[in-house]
Symmetry: C2
Subunit: 206 residues, 2 copies
Amino acid sequence: MLVPVDIKKVGRPPSNENQREVILNSAAELFARKGFDGASISDLAAAISQSKAAVYHYFPNKRQLCDAIIVQALATLVPRTQEQVSQASDAREQLRLFMLCHADQFETNRFGIITMLSGFDAMPESKTKQQANRLRDEHEALLRQIIRNGIDQQVFSPMDVSMAGRAVLSMLNWMARWYRPEGRLSARQIAAQYYEIICQGFVARS
Amino acid sequence: MLVPVDIKKVGRPPSNENQREVILNSAAELFARKGFDGASISDLAAAISQSKAAVYHYFPNKRQLCDAIIVQALATLVPRTQEQVSQASDAREQLRLFMLCHADQFETNRFGIITMLSGFDAMPESKTKQQANRLRDEHEALLRQIIRNGIDQQVFSPMDVSMAGRAVLSMLNWMARWYRPEGRLSARQIAAQYYEIICQGFVARS
């Protein structure tokens, strides 16, 4: 009996999750180092010793590849942070865990988080963008909830919760611009120091 | 008497500071919106209704044009901040003035400061880069000096001055990513809130 051949699949590499991961990881490094416009599928193919067709088999274009990295970074960061934070009830400890977990991504998924932070705003409207927005909103809402908890528990002073959340995320996100894994402090150690600074404030307590 | 004609200059637009400023301002907006790789001299020429040659008359290439914007942004920000800060002697007021003046650039030179913040790291080695480094170092040194003053004056708690300076600059610099002039608060108002947050800290004072 003749087996029908799917012509379109002839010559394509076998589809597997591992290969998709290899592409995502290498592409994240390329985007993080060169930016969206600076990175090319040719560079990527060369970096993983594959043909451009092998890349296009998984991602129809550079935009969708970049958007997949952004969503993947958020889909790792957001539930992991929620899970960590849920282990504490004191708002100070929740905040500390949030900050450590967020910063941790600069160690465990450095290029993914940098691609996410630098590429988020440029994502065109799409289902992937909607998914990214939802995850980002969840993450920011968790942080604001922690701050509100702290105010309710009277361990934090009353403050503009939204602005306070921005202050925390700004400190952490700017690490994308200067943090180097070979530096003196780990990303978690930096976040721990930022936590002390933002909790205690500069002004001496009498 | 025959006047020698400089062949190379025939057909070039007249050199004047105003024209150079027009190019720098429009280019800053292009770089801020599209990034270095996304912006082109053709786009710029179209935006200012000039020929590409008119742009190349002032800047030999896109790289030198971008670097000039970066240095110009720092050469405005840094002495202006120094001048403002010098008007106060209390470290808290010095810090407040530093933060307001830094944030103010998002209102008065929005595209220049965004181009500077996003393009600084990618500047290739050159005299312009050295000049940019010196200005950046001066600015960061001023902030650390303010924090040290505060510790010496015992208005600030003892802390890691370098990390505290990073925390302040991170909050301000991340504004490049989200601040919009049409928003609810001006850049200075945001900086004033950040100043209160970083000075007082989250943890309630007894």
